[in-house]
């Protein structure tokens, strides 16, 4: 079997994205010397860690050839869950967080099970469930904000360990765990194979259904993590929590070079995708770009980055083919 190149070792394949990232950083830094200060870099990383975390879960699904539009609503549900467990149910913080992660995994597994057992297209099912889950949030909270979260809990979103915000540490820990799962376990390899060629996967004895349900579970758990960190960061849970984060998560994965048809992409790409989004969002405000132009520029930069990346990869691919010949 052809060995699939992935992970950090394949970072050279992202040289296109890295170059673009360096160029925009230089431009921002030239316009505002405060851009590359420790405080601002930390702010960028803390902001992108939220959609980076859900981007990782979404990445598993996209690699497997699926996607989940419910993550935004799931962030909301899990934010509400963790808040209720701590306030109304008065459970200890660690238990509330654990139960919330389990709830996220359970909702994810439910999504995956319905999709794989009924054959309903993932796009349609998860799109429909988005409103179901959001509706449940409104029913449970009666549309009200939950505040008065315990002080110690807020540390997850606000405190630092050795100068680094806990949110960033969680993001990088998740990146490493995801890398290990994808590259060092049979399950991880199956995600790639089943995503790239489901039929071949089936004949080589992979249980595609099980793999997909597990991917949905992982996505659910990451959404629960993001919901928990967000709740701690904002010190309150609004019923709109996590709104439209599914698009951020998909953007992160796709900008990072994942193919929506499955089988192609890596964890390094997720980090780069998140960095591109975070740097652009922060940098445009740093250089004081007029508000309406920010939207235009953001879209254009993303398109340029991805086209450049595709172009670079195509170049690399042809060279490899020639070599093989």
């Amino acid at each position: 079997m052809k060995k699939v190149k992935m992970g950090w070792s394949g970072i050279s394949q992202y040289s296109g994205l890295v170059i673009i990232l360096v160029i925009i950083c230089i431009i921002f830094q030239a316009k505002n010397p405060l851009f590359l200060t420790f405080d601002n870099v930390i702010a960028i990383l803390r902001q992108l860690s939220i959609y980076g975390i859900v981007g990782i879960g979404m990445g598993f699904l996209i690699l497997n050839g699926y996607l989940d539009l419910t993550v935004g609503s799931m962030i909301g549900i899990c934010g509400v869950t963790v808040a209720y467990l701590m306030t109304a149910a008065n459970l200890p913080i660690w238990l509330s967080v654990l139960l919330t992660l389990a709830a996220g995994g359970a909702i994810g597994a439910f999504n995956g099970a319905v999709i794989t057992y009924t054959g309903i297209p993932a796009f349609i099912f998860t799109l429909a469930m988005t409103t179901v889950y959001r509706g449940i949030i409104y029913l449970v909270t009666d549309g009200k904000t939950i505040s008065n979260l315990p002080k110690a809990f807020l540390a997850i979103g606000r405190n630092n360990i050795m100068g680094i915000p806990i949110a960033i540490i969680i993001f990088f820990a998740t990146l490493i765990i995801a890398w290990v799962i994808l590259n060092r376990t049979t399950f991880g390899r199956s995600v790639y194979v089943a995503g790239g060629n489901p039929l071949a996967a089936k004949y080589s004895g992979i249980n595609n259904r099980k793999i997909t349900i597990l991917c949905y579970m992982i996505c659910g758990v990451t959404a629960a993590m993001a919901g928990t960190v967000l709740a701690a960061k904002l010190s309150a849970v609004q019923p709109t929590l996590g709104n439209s984060y599914e698009m951020e998560a998909i953007s992160v994965a796709v900008i990072g070079g994942m193919s929506l048809t499955g089988g192609v992409g890596s964890i390094a790409g997720i980090l780069l995708g998140a960095l591109v989004l975070g740097v652009i969002d922060n940098g445009m405000i740093m250089i004081g770009l007029a508000s309406y132009w920010q939207m235009v520029v953001k879209g254009i930069v993303i398109v340029i980055a991805v086209i450049f990346d595709i172009y670079k990869k195509k170049g690399a691919l042809t060279i490899r083919k020639i070599r093989r010949k």
């Binding site: 405060l34 405080d39 601002n40 099970a113 409103t131 969002d281 922060n282």
Partner: protein, 346 residues
């Protein structure tokens, strides 16, 4: 085995749906036993139509059917209006059919079309875009339906428009900050949701209020509001990183206020000196102002419940053939550390 799992899944789905349905009915009954929620065009709505045997019969019995439409129900302000509308409806024996359009004007217009098809007698609606709602409101007027706009203005003839004076609220806020800074300093205004009339009017008010203080430097940063409080907190954090010299951040509604507060609280050692001027008044905000230790130094309080109540009452008056004023204003008030105890006492 496969079949078994299929059956189990189906049962789970049905049960969970049933559970949701039960809850919905329950919460509806709690607030107002006549309220009915319409989320999507069609569906439930047409069912409720069948129950009443047409317009004339309804009017003879003296029960009017009124469609109420809100941008969202996730903000305390909108919930307040909903409460006011439903209370006034219960008192006057008006049947309410409710719609929520999730801050999507297009969806809102579809719900109005739906109201027209159901032959409601009146519509009490919150518009977030004065232009986008005009065509559907005109269609409703042509169908002989009484239309009362609450909160946001609609750029076409309506029977009545009830709103807090947003420009006045903006001016109160700007002027207070001018005084607070003794006419010297730097102010950051977060402009949210461009195109949203209410926000534009408040924003203009901020500038008018600050006009008297030429030595205050004003910077504006926009956020389209897509990511709610979290988005606003990021925008504010980025803006403060770009220029840490701001003295006060002026905000235009509760999500922006809470986002700005979160951004400062996250970086308390760096931005602890920067103050926030709020808009709207939820309980958490009031507590913060009262403590005197929070970055939040004041806010503009509206009376959403009064707005909702006035909206329905005016619609009811028109239905009974009485004349009403075209524009009805609801008061706004400035709340600061100095006067908060009076406000809480009310």
């Amino acid at each position: 085995m496969k079949k078994m799992i299929g059956i189990v899944l189906t049962v789970i789905c049905v049960l969970s749906l049933a559970a949701c349905g039960g809850k919905a009915a329950e919460s509806g009954a709690g607030e107002n036993n006549e309220a009915e929620t319409v989320n999507e065009a069609g569906g439930e709505a047409s069912d409720s139509m069948d129950e009443t045997s047409g317009d004339a019969a309804g009017e003879e019995e003296g029960t009017f059917k009124v469609g109420s439409l809100y941008a969202t129900l996730s903000i305390d302000f909108c919930k307040g209006m909903q409460e006011g509308v439903n209370e006034a409806a219960a008192e006057n024996g008006v049947q309410i059919i409710e719609g929520v359009y999730d801050i999507d004007a297009n969806k809102g217009s579809e719900i109005i079309q739906n109201f027209i098809n159901q032959k409601v007698d009146a519509i009490v609606m919150q518009a977030i875009d004065s232009e986008a709602f005009a065509p559907s409101v005109e269609a409703a007027k042509e169908a002989g339906i009484v239309v009362v706009a609450i909160d946001g203005r609609v750029n076409t003839q309506v029977d009545c428009w009830v709103a807090s004076d947003n420009t006045e609220g903006g001016i109160l806020s700007g002027d207070f900050i001018g005084q607070y800074l003794n006419g010297e300093g730097e102010v950051l205004i977060i402009t949210s949701e461009p195109g949203n009339v209410t926000m534009v009017e408040r924003n203009n008010g901020f500038h008018t209020g600050l006009e008297k203080y030429p030595n205050i430097k004003i910077t504006e940063v926009m956020d389209d509001g897509q990511n709610g409080v979290e988005g606003y907190s990021e925008t504010v954090e980025n803006a403060l990183n770009a220029n840490p010299n701001y003295d006060v951040i002026i905000t235009g509604y509760s999500d922006v206020t809470n986002g700005a507060l979160a951004a400062i609280e996250m970086n308390i050692e760096r931005f602890g000196e920067i103050k926030v001027m709020g808009y709207d008044a939820d309980e958490a905000m009031l507590e913060k102002i009262a403590s005197g230790e929070s970055p939040l130094i004041g806010t503009i309080a509206q009376e959403p419940k009064v707005i909702g109540r006035l909206g329905l009452e005016n619609a009811y008056k028109v239905l009974k053939g009485e004349t009403v004023e075209e524009e009805v204003g609801a008061e706004v008030s400035l709340i600061t550390f100095e006067n908060i105890s009076e406000y809480m006492a009310q």
